[in-house]
Amino acid sequence: MDMKVAKKLGLKERYSLMTRDLAWDTTYQPMDKVFPQTTYEGIKIHDWDKWEDPFRLTMDAYWKYQSEKERKLYAILDGFNQNNGHLSVTDARYINVLKLFLGSTPPLELMAARGFSMMGRQMNGAGPRVACQMQAVDEYRHFQTQIHSISNYNKYYNGMDEFAHQQSRMWYLSDGKSFFDDAITAGPFEFMVAIGFAFEYVLTNILFVPFISGAAYNGDMAAMTVGFSAQSDEARHMTLGLECIKFMLEQDPDNLPIVQRWIDKWTWRGTRKLASVGMMMDYMLPKRIMSFKEAWEMYVEENGGALFKDLARYGITIPKCFSQTIEEKEHVSHQSWIGFYMKPQATPFHTWIPTPDEMDWLSEKYPNTFDKYYRPVLEFFDAQEKAGNRFDNKTAPMNCQVCVSTMKFNEPGDPMEMCFRESIYKGEKFHTCSDHCKEIFDNEPEKYSQTFISSHQVLQGNCEPDGTDVNAPDFKPGQNMLDYWKLDKRALGDFNGSEDQKNFAAWREQATKN
């Protein structure tokens, strides 16, 4: 009789037997010493057993499916590399999106891996702990497959060779670094809202889905495979983030205001990070399937909206920043691209002025803003470049103390006016880029006064190439930034005239003549 019982178990019971039934409350050491981090943020959990497991994969099933995915992925990568697949992309400008995307993403995936390992150690419910551990190991997969896919591109194109060195040093990577540093230094529940919910549920869709679909459209089978294959894990991660939010809200009504503040904060921080994704979609993909604005509407406004409506039953309201992000969707991609265009000597990827066709596409996709505000700027730069006067802004940028973006966003309601806010903390002045960043600062000034702002650090002599003698009498800070960043000179400047452009053309020529 007994023998039949286990076989009759449904997926849920069986999974529970394979996870939380393994756990026990420790007695030789007190539970609050074994799990010391889950109370100090003020979140109240009364019954960890009420946690609903999302995606119930036991390790045997996990290994079975993941190994099948990996086998396929590496077969495609190998084939792509052996066949000079890099020459099949639409045009060499496309490579720059890889420099930016695959150069900046692996370090973030790595932080997700380490952060979720910490959650997989610290959460004192067995259900969430296992789900976090599984996400951690998935995130190892992501940064590694991404590195493996750029590895081949790096052999032929400039600007990807120092991504590991640059992750903690480059000015424009500092916003992503601060996002993850902020989350990982917060308590475990805030981390889950920041990464599990805001990043995975609200943002990875737009980060990966339309963009990777765009990579496929531009002939990059390697990036497509790696991107979509990672995204299949993200589906699991999203459910974990959402489950964690629901769990906190169901456990105690006192959790609501804390969770709401985190949702507000992290939705905004995530939105700021998306500005550069917008520019990748609108400016850097030679062939485009949809504009950033359209993707934003589909994945953030509609999908995020559905989510917030769903959470309304717990008392959650739509994040305060939502209306501003909707206003900004018509601006941020242009502001970002122009911002990067103006600094050709400070990034390892090339920038360029869109072709007339491409500008027309932008006019069509952004009827309210492109012709009015951004086309004139781009056409002016274009004329300057043709006159031999390519724009090059050498002044150090000013950064937001919270999101660490360079100040380039407009005052709400006034696209012509740059937005600045300031706060005073312990007698010192701190600048932020928006009302929302200012609010985040004012909530936790002791944390955000620590932000590593490279333009400030440069002046203090903290951004010098290794081995620099900062006490030498003739030492002047910030004279050797290219060395500090290890920026290859061939990777700098406008796309027009670059080594990438010439090589790609020559190699393609070789193929057609054969």
């Binding site: 045997d60 990996e70 390992s117 910490m118 551990q133 190991v137 193929a511």
Partner: protein, 330 residues
């Protein structure tokens, strides 16, 4: 335009990433393991200090007494990056699946002699909780360890132990369904044979030095437990009854054989870095080995009766020999 890109032969501008060329001392192609591992963890310019432990940076070398000139000397000789690890485990799970199916199909568990079965389940099944603790303690090492070489290997090992806990659970189900698991849990929580072992793994859950946790959990405890149960005890059961338990714990045996290579390489590289490390490792190994012997004695007695002491003494000799081979004189 039909173009054949395969025929294009072009000279690469470079063979590998800058950080790897500097590490290898030459611009030459690097393996996927090297690409996926070396020098990737941030080491500088952190924005904020952890609110949960403000005395440390996010990644901090002072979380252990061990000092390394190069934390990436703790390489994995198996060269496991995620893809290699998951493919290896995918193969092992396929074999395990076949074994469980076969036992089920042929009714081998039901046919197992009753007296042997009861005693074996009493010994094996509480080990699902030991594996669960191992999963947690390895997760600690992976979370707070320094550098991706050690953090990834321990992350995989931690997931492996979750797998082990689940395979032991399936073993219980295969033989005696849910009641056996409930009994085993009760034994784990209250049975006299298991309390020293439970104390051992719970004490490790509050130990702060991650390297010491690694030594205590992986080297000392598992270095004795795995040979004791998954090798010796299985051999005893094979001889007395049939190899069914051996079949259904094949994963654990293979895992231990393979993981030992990694762990011994890590211990060896750590000791080789400096004399203080060597001394520290010797101190930890002795301390935790002696505790592990105390913790495992009642379990050994359960499995081997009167022969238990002799077997434990032999396994301790083997563990000492592993340490010696890794350059650690005890």
């Amino acid at each position: 335009m039909a173009i054949d890109l395969r025929t294009v032969s072009i000279t690469p501008l470079r063979q590998t990433f800058g950080h790897l060329a500097r590490r290898m001392g030459a611009d030459k192609p690097a393996s996927r393991y090297i690409e996926a591992t070396m020098d990737l963890q941030p080491v500088e310019n952190y924005h904020y200090r952890p609110t949960w432990e403000p005395q440390y940076d996010i990644f901090d070398t002072t979380r252990t007494a061990i000092k390394m000139k190069d934390w990436y000397a703790l390489k994995d000789p198996r060269q496991y990056y995620y893809g290699a690890w998951t493919l290896a485990r995918g193969r092992m799970q396929e074999v395990a699946e076949g074994d469980f199916d076969l036992v089920d199909e042929l009714g081998l568990a039901a046919a197992y002699p009753a007296e042997g079965k009861a005693q074996a389940l009493k010994t094996f099944l509480p080990l699902r909780h030991v594996a669960w603790a191992s999963n947690l303690n390895k997760a600690y090492v992976s979370s707070y360890g320094y550098g991706i070489a050690i953090s990834q290997a321990t992350c995989y090992a931690s997931m492996d132990q979750l797998g082990v806990a689940q395979y032991v659970t399936r073993l219980g189900i295969a033989f005696d369904d849910l009641d056996a698991l409930a009994t085993a849990k009760k034994d784990w929580l209250e049975g006299a044979e298991w309390q020293e072992l439970r104390r051992y793994v719970e004490d490790l859950m509050v130990e702060k030095d991650w390297f010491e946790v690694l030594v205590a959990q992986d080297f000392a405890l598992e270095g004795l437990l795995y040979p004791l149960i998954y090798e010796r005890y299985n051999e005893k059961l094979n001889a007395a009854y049939s190899p069914v338990f051996s079949m259904l714990t094949r994963f654990q045996r293979e895992w231990f054989g393979e993981t030992t290579k990694w762990l011994d390489a890590v211990i060896k590289a750590t000791g080789a870095d400096n004399a203080d490390n060597k001394a520290k490792l010797a101190e930890w190994i002795k301390k935790w080995r002696d505790r592990a012997v105390v913790a495992l004695k009642p379990v050994a007695a359960l499995a081997f009766g009167a022969e238990a002491d002799a077997i434990m003494a032999e396994l301790v000799q083997n563990l000492n020999a592993r340490a010696a081979k890794a350059g650690i004189a005890l």
